[in-house]
């Protein structure tokens, strides 16, 4: 009998252009909580998806009880005793707790001896037992949509337990829980440990890791850094291990000089109590303000709130000294604010339309003849200017944007915004999913814009990019601004310290 319930060894996985996992290992002991740590993009999720059968490994092995196994898909993983509670829960809100737990494997019975039907009595009795096991005492027939987030999570854990799992993966389980709810979760974890379940615990919260973790594996840039006993580690040591790398990217020299304040936000709070709150900051003319933080820090939500995509309850926005009201993106655009959204496919490009249509959609008013008719020549001129200025590689202006590479799509979107000649540009993860060469070109564009006197807010989850490009960095954690770091003094350590400052 092996001392490990599950081992992953020499696991590698590549996506087009990226090596997401490079020779990684993970060994889980029964009855222990194994914390998996690393920066955004370190490869934690990819590794878990390999274990859970969502991704196929390019290379490597999974052993259970010392025997090699192949996991084909999530159903297969469940059969083998591996369960996962995802960071973003996906329950079916309109159905009951019992139906959610037994979805896809309802207990059946034969009515009149031959008509197969769902055995509701057994399902709800089993559900009640399971809920007792996770120390929850709500009605198995309650609709899941009526539960709180932590209760929904308990349902997910109950679901995992009901599969008699031996390995339970918890991906950021406390990211949306209150302190009391976290305590309840920890009690469930203790119970599961006592039953010999191996738990993979993914979290950025150092105090939690040090409190309930038995072992800690740290990953960085898709590589395995090492495994330690939690008792050997301190918060500082974990941070150093997580971020300890040299800057590999090069950044253009910036010649911008920040001037007077042009944009100011005071006490900005979301309509959603778990999102951004009490945010205040200033942005200067010609300044690049980086925004750092972990996944879930609500950076995107804050910026979308400022741009009118999301709603806020309180807060003021001042633009060039005047208070302005923004309730929809058009209001922000009319003021001279632009926002390059994070999800290029979801809220950026219009895939089936041409490069010309995509680049001109936000500024069509400028190309009208007699106020009504679009002047094709002016639009073509806009496309050509941008193609030349940003080195966009496209066969023609009529090419569909979806056939361009990610970097070129991004340049078209930058062009869309620049056509409005905005003074403030919000860039949300401007280089995500873009290859290295195109990244550098985007950095140069950003640096040039700042030099021209445009003010830039850049959200980035890449530490080196934040440090390499920002005049100043605003760090957020869990919806709050936890600190500002001057670009010249920024280090991965001091940013990470602010980024993990949970309440």
């Amino acid at each position: 009998m092996s001392e490990y319930v599950l081992e992953m060894t020499e696991v590698s996985k590549s996506f087009p252009g990226v090596k997401a996992l490079d020779n990684v290992q993970l060994k889980l002991r029964p009855g222990k909580v194994h914390a998996l740590m690393g920066e955004n993009g370190a490869g934690k999720s990819t590794l878990m998806k390999c274990m859970f059968g969502i991704y196929k490994m390019d290379q490597g092995q999974i052993l259970m009880d010392g025997q090699p196994v192949t996991i084909h898909d999530p159903m297969d993983a469940l059969r083998k005793g591996i369960a996962m509670v995802h960071q973003e829960l996906q329950p079916i809100p309109a159905r009951t707790v019992g139906e959610n737990i037994f979805l896809g494997r309802y207990p059946m019975k034969k009515a009149l001896g031959f008509i197969p039907m769902v055995d509701h009595a057994k399902m709800y009795a089993d559900t009640a037992d399971l809920l007792k096991k996770v120390r929850m005492n709500f009605d198995p027939k309650q609709k899941v949509g009526e539960l709180s987030v932590s209760q929904m999570q308990s349902v997910e854990i109950a679901k995992a337990v009901s599969a008699n799992c031996r390995v339970l993966i918890l991906d950021e389980p406390t990211s949306s829980l209150t302190a009391n709810e976290v305590e309840a979760l920890f009690r469930i974890i203790e119970d599961l440990k006592a039953e010999g379940v191996a738990i993979v615990y993914i979290s950025h919260k150092m105090d939690e890791i040090l409190r309930i973790g038995d072992e800690v594996t740290i990953m960085r840039d898709g590589r395995y850094i090492g495994t330690w006993d939690a008792s050997e580690l301190t918060t500082d040591k974990i941070i150093t291990l997580m971020v300890g790398r040299e800057l590999t990217n090069l950044y253009p020299k910036r010649e911008n000089v920040p001037g007077e304040v042009v944009f100011e936000v005071k006490d900005f709070t979301s309509i959603n109590p778990r999102s951004f709150r009490n945010v205040s900051f200033q942005l200067r003319r010609g300044e690049i303000l980086g925004v750092g933080g972990l996944v879930g820090a609500q950076r995107t939500e804050l910026m979308e709130g400022l741009f009118g995509i999301r709603s806020h309850t309180t807060g003021q926005i001042f633009y060039k000294g005047q208070e302005i009201t923004i309730t929809r993106p058009k209001d922000a655009i009319d003021q001279g604010i632009a926002m390059l959204t994070e999800d290029r496919r979801g809220s950026g490009i219009m895939g089936v339309l041409s490069v010309a249509d995509n680049i001109s959609i936000s500024s069509l008013n400028k190309y009208l003849d007699h106020g009504y008719f679009i002047n094709g020549k002016k639009v073509e001129q806009l496309v050509q200017d941008n193609v030349k200025k940003m080195n966009i590689k496209t066969p023609s202006s009529k090419t569909l944007i979806k056939s361009l590479s990610g970097g070129n799509q991004q340049k078209v979107l930058v062009g869309r915004w620049l056509a409005n000649n905005p003074d403030v540009l919000i860039l949300d993860e401007p280089t995500r999913g873009i290859d290295v060469g195109a990244k550098y070109e985007i950095y140069c564009i950003i640096a040039d814009l700042a030099k021209e006197g445009k003010s830039i807010i850049m959200i980035s989850s890449e530490m080196s990019e934040l440090i390499g490009m920002s005049d100043r960095i605003m760090v957020m954690c869990d919806g709050r601004v936890t600190g500002f770091v001057e670009g010249s003094e920024a280090t991965q350590e001091n940013i990470m310290t602010y980024a993990t400052q949970f309440e």
Partner: protein, 339 residues
Amino acid sequence: MEATKTQESFVSKLIKVITRNPIVFLLLIAAIVVGCLVENFFSWANLTNLLSNTAIRFLIALGVSGCLITKGTDLSAGRQVGFAAVVAGIMCQRGDYNGRLWKFLPEMNIGLVFVIVVLVGLFWGLINGLIVSKLHVPPFIATLGTQTIIYGISLVISDAQPIGGFQKIYTTLINGRIGNVRGFHLPYLLFVAAVFGLVFWFIYNKMRFGKYMYAIGGNDIAAEVSGVNTTRTLIRIYTTAGIMYAVAGYLLAAKSGGASASMGQGYELEAIAGCTIGGVSTTGGIGTVPGILIGVLVFELLKIILQFLGVNPYYNYVVQGLVIVLAVALDIRKYIAKK
């Protein structure tokens, strides 16, 4: 993907066009076969018939195309046509006609009636647009509801009776035509359709409204983020559609020489089928005016083929339904394959 475009041979280009539009080519081949087998199929009279049938259907298809391009639909199209026909019919009755429905009305100028009918269409379209964009009711359900409402009101105002006794000028003007070459005429309706076709081509390609429409169909979130007023654009799309159905209804009543509440029943499906065959994609953002014209023409051709083959007219419904499903299934396949 590649910047360099290889010179395609004419044959491979042709094959590409055929595989992209299989239904169009299948029906063209069917037409040729039927034309060779059945006498009088290739006749000038038949062509005139085809073109004037197509003209009105084309107007309805133009109306519904905006809804389809923005990933919506308009199931009330047919009933709106019927409503417009009823209103036009009642108002265009002769002053000395015994069966006049609204006896309190004087004999009305048919130009004035046209304006009234268009305003009524605008009203129904506006209602649809408001329900879809402000109340966020899915277009399928919204227009399914208004379809029934409009039909009900049509029945009420027409007293569920057929309406006849039109002013002569109304029917002769709309059914007028130019020339006579061995039975082939150019119906006025054709010019009306051509004018609207050009106007729509212009709107879709050269005006901000058209660009916004394609943008919403391509990615509604991106359009909103880019500053497009998606609410207003959707309202305008459904309103424009209503106007087109009204025009079609006004013409249809005159063309048929009578009107009733059941007029236009099922036209929404014919219009949607025509659009889909002509390359308007239900996945949004795609569709051209020439494509819509070809789609409607081909669909009318199908109906005439069935008629010439002597198929029991009830089977028309079966065939039309199959073609609609097939057209959408083929269209969807283009996008599934690419994922």
